[in-house]
């Protein structure tokens, strides 16, 4: 039983407020990911939960107990550091056994626990080695093992994979997901990589500038971002944004700029009319843009015409950077047709999947507090 409740948590260094009014309930056994750009306060928040950083304001509850002033070792948490922080002078076994020794556990029990963790993490053959004799991935596993043996009710992980190469990162990601399945403990995971966040998290908190931008499941964030920041941060390649003007014509609502013209579907049009903005930021994901030449239907509205500037072959899909007047549109096409720089192309948008943001503050007009749907 360990839900973690952050209630109006604040952190300041002197006059500078780094984390502002952080309010979040993390459920028992949940895999929660904090994601955001560098310097947004993810680590600081995690370190406050760990007890490595004082909390300037608000309440932190772990398992229902207020722990603001409880020392780190009594919070029933374990943390995995970005650079592993293994003790260089101890063997793998000693690294994992250290916290148990400090708790004066019997030798036999320590051996049993370390042995078990080593088996889960496939470290059995490495127990006698020093950290400097291990590869990056093995060190990472030892760091996990050190947290594991203590059987904590909350796991904290601060960018645990960022020091690994791309391939290892993917396989360790799977391993962490499997570990969470197996342990069934609460995990809080910090990363600045949105792919990691999307693949691992039960829920994700997107942060910017010390403020929670949005909290939700990966799909909620992907489909219904509440502001332009979240929309641009989640999803790869990122969403396209254009400044457009809204125009009424014979009861239909159009969004247009110099090079783009889209008819807004009825449902969204009603919300946008109610919002009463004239100029908005229109957003559309690369996956919702298609090549008109590849569509069978007769009755299609061309949203934009342009010239292919760059072609990126990713295997399953092809990314096109299309120049349409002043706008550069990134579109994701299924592989099959081959494109070349210089080709002219007509683009069709799946307008059901459009997003609209208020120009002034980037808030979504369609989703979240301003819009109708949540």
């Amino acid at each position: 039983m360990a839900e973690v409740k952050l209630s109006h948590i604040k952190k300041s260094y002197g006059d500078v407020e780094i984390v502002k009014d952080f309010d979040l309930d993390i459920r028992d056994k949940e895999f929660m990911v904090f994601v955001g750009p560098s310097g947004c306060g993810k680590s600081t928040t995690l370190r406050m939960i760990a007890g490595l950083e004082d909390i300037t304001g608000g309440d932190l509850l772990i398992g229902g107990r207020r722990v603001n002033n409880v020392s780190p070792k009594d919070r029933d948490i374990a943390m995995v550091f970005q650079n592993y922080a293994l003790y260089p002078h101890m063997t793998v076994y000693e690294n994992m056994a250290f916290s148990l020794k400090l708790r004066h556990l019997a030798k036999g029990e320590i051996q049993k626990k370390v042995g078990e963790a080593a088996r889960v993490l496939q470290l059995e053959s490495l127990l006698g080695r020093k950290p400097k004799e291990l590869s990056g991935g093995q060190r990472q596993r030892v760091a996990m093992g050190r947290a594991l043996v203590r059987n904590p009710s909350v796991f904290l992980l601060d960018e645990p994979l960022s020091n690994l190469d791309a391939k290892l990162r993917v396989s360790m990601r799977t391993e962490i997901a499997r570990l969470h399945q197996r342990l069934q403990t609460t995990m809080i995971y910090v990363t600045h990589d949105q792919t990691e966040a999307m693949t691992l998290g039960d829920r994700i908190v997107v942060m910017n500038d010390g403020i929670i931008q949005q909290c939700g499941t990966p799909m909620e964030l992907y489909q219904h971002p509440v502001n332009q920041f979240v929309a641009g941060f989640i999803g790869n390649p990122p969403m396209n944004f254009f400044s457009v003007e809204l125009m009424e014509n014979e009861g239909r609502l159009f969004a247009s700029s110099e090079s783009i013209l889209i008819e807004v579907p009825q449902q969204q049009a009603d919300i946008l009319r109610a919002a009463g903005e004239k100029e908005i930021v229109f957003g559309i994901r690369p996956e919702a843009i298609h090549d008109a030449a590849m569509l069978l239907s007769e009755n299609i509205d061309i949203a934009a015409r342009g010239t292919v500037e760059v072609v990126e072959l990713l295997g399953a899909e092809t990314l096109l950077h299309v120049r349409c007047g002043r706008e550069l549109i990134v579109a994701s096409m299924p592989s099959g047709k081959s494109y070349h720089p210089g080709d002219t192309i007509e683009l069709v948008f799946t307008t059901d999947r459009m997003h609209a943001f208020r120009k002034a503050d980037g808030r979504s007009l369609l989703y979240g507090k301003l819009g109708g749907a949540a």
């Binding site: 760990a50 007890g51 490595l52 780190p72 070792k73 948490i77 374990a78 943390m79 550091f81 970005q82 650079n83 922080a85 293994l86 003790y87 260089p88 002078h89 250290f98 916290s99 400090l102 708790r103 050190r146």
Partner: protein, 276 residues
């Protein structure tokens, strides 16, 4: 061709090294030779290269005329306690200066550094007064006392502590370490080479400390080796062969220590500490 030039180079390097080694060895050999001469022969001009008859009796004479057992005991006592003291106090102070935030930390550390910039001789009189008022003049305690703290050691070990990543300490905190346990289980083992270097410096310095023992202690049997031998240097005349023989007797424990700890010794002096 390649082979030839590299051989030539090797020869040149070796010649230079041999020259250096010989230069360093000559005074030592001269000491050995002089210790086996008669007093008359030792002061002859021009000097003889090899003694006419080997005067082994010099060794027996000097051994009998001075309390060498007491010298050894005093020297080792002084080295032992100074090393233990300076390592302990320097390490604890250095850790505090490196890692614990407290008001006035930088000013205090500045004061520690300042003591390194003042010539040591200036401290002799105040130190003597302190020891005298403690009523401890002419004792092993007096030999040890001023050497159990070290500004240099504090400075040196602080550098070592600063080089240890903060995350290691944080990991230790999460593992359940108290401040003292962090110091003992994590920080000290990681500064091993620094501790060894400081021990060696302290031991060397204590070994060749001549002035302080002569000032604070008066009885011959309260002297360490260096100062004890100095009593052979009379005001008007010096028996060089006996002085050299005494030096030979005095020197071998240090030689043995050097041979035993050669690796650490050289590492310590070269200061390649921080890599474990």
């Amino acid at each position: 061709m390649q082979f030839k030039t590299s051989t030539k180079k090797h020869l040149a390097v070796h010649a230079a090294l041999i020259l250096g080694a010989v230069t360093m060895l000559v005074p030592f050999l001269w000491m050995v030779i002089t210790s086996l001469k008669t007093l008359a022969e030792s002061t002859m001009v021009p000097p003889t290269l090899w003694p006419e008859t080997l005067q082994w009796s010099n060794y027996a004479d000097v051994w009998n005329s001075l309390p060498f057992a007491a010298f050894y005991a005093n020297t080792f006592g002084m080295i032992l306690f100074r090393v233990i003291g300076s390592v302990f106090f320097s390490a604890t102070a250095a850790y505090a200066f490196a890692r614990i935030e407290f008001p006035g930390r930088n000013v205090l550390f500045g004061l520690v550094l300042v003591t390194m910039m003042i010539p040591g001789q200036l401290f002799l009189i105040p130190q003597y007064e302190i020891v005298a008022r403690l009523g401890a003049v002419d004792s092993l305690f007096a030999l040890v006392l001023p050497g159990i703290v070290s500004a240099f050691g504090t400075f040196l070990l602080r550098q070592f502590f600063l080089g240890i990543p903060k995350e290691l300490e944080e990991a230790a905190v999460l593992d359940g370490c108290s401040r003292w346990q962090i110091f003992w289980h994590v920080m000290l083992p990681l500064t091993r080479s620094g501790l060894i270097a400081l021990s060696i410096f302290t031991a060397l310095f204590a070994w060749k400390d001549l002035m302080w023992p002569l000032i604070v202690n008066t009885s011959l049997d309260k002297m360490p080796l260096a100062s004890g031998l100095a009593s052979l240097q009379g005001q008007y005349s010096t028996n060089f062969p006996q002085l050299m023989a005494g030096s030979m007797i005095a020197i071998w424990p240090m030689l043995i220590l050097f041979v035993l700890f050669q690796k650490q010794f050289i590492q310590g002096v070269a200061g390649t500490g921080s890599k474990n």
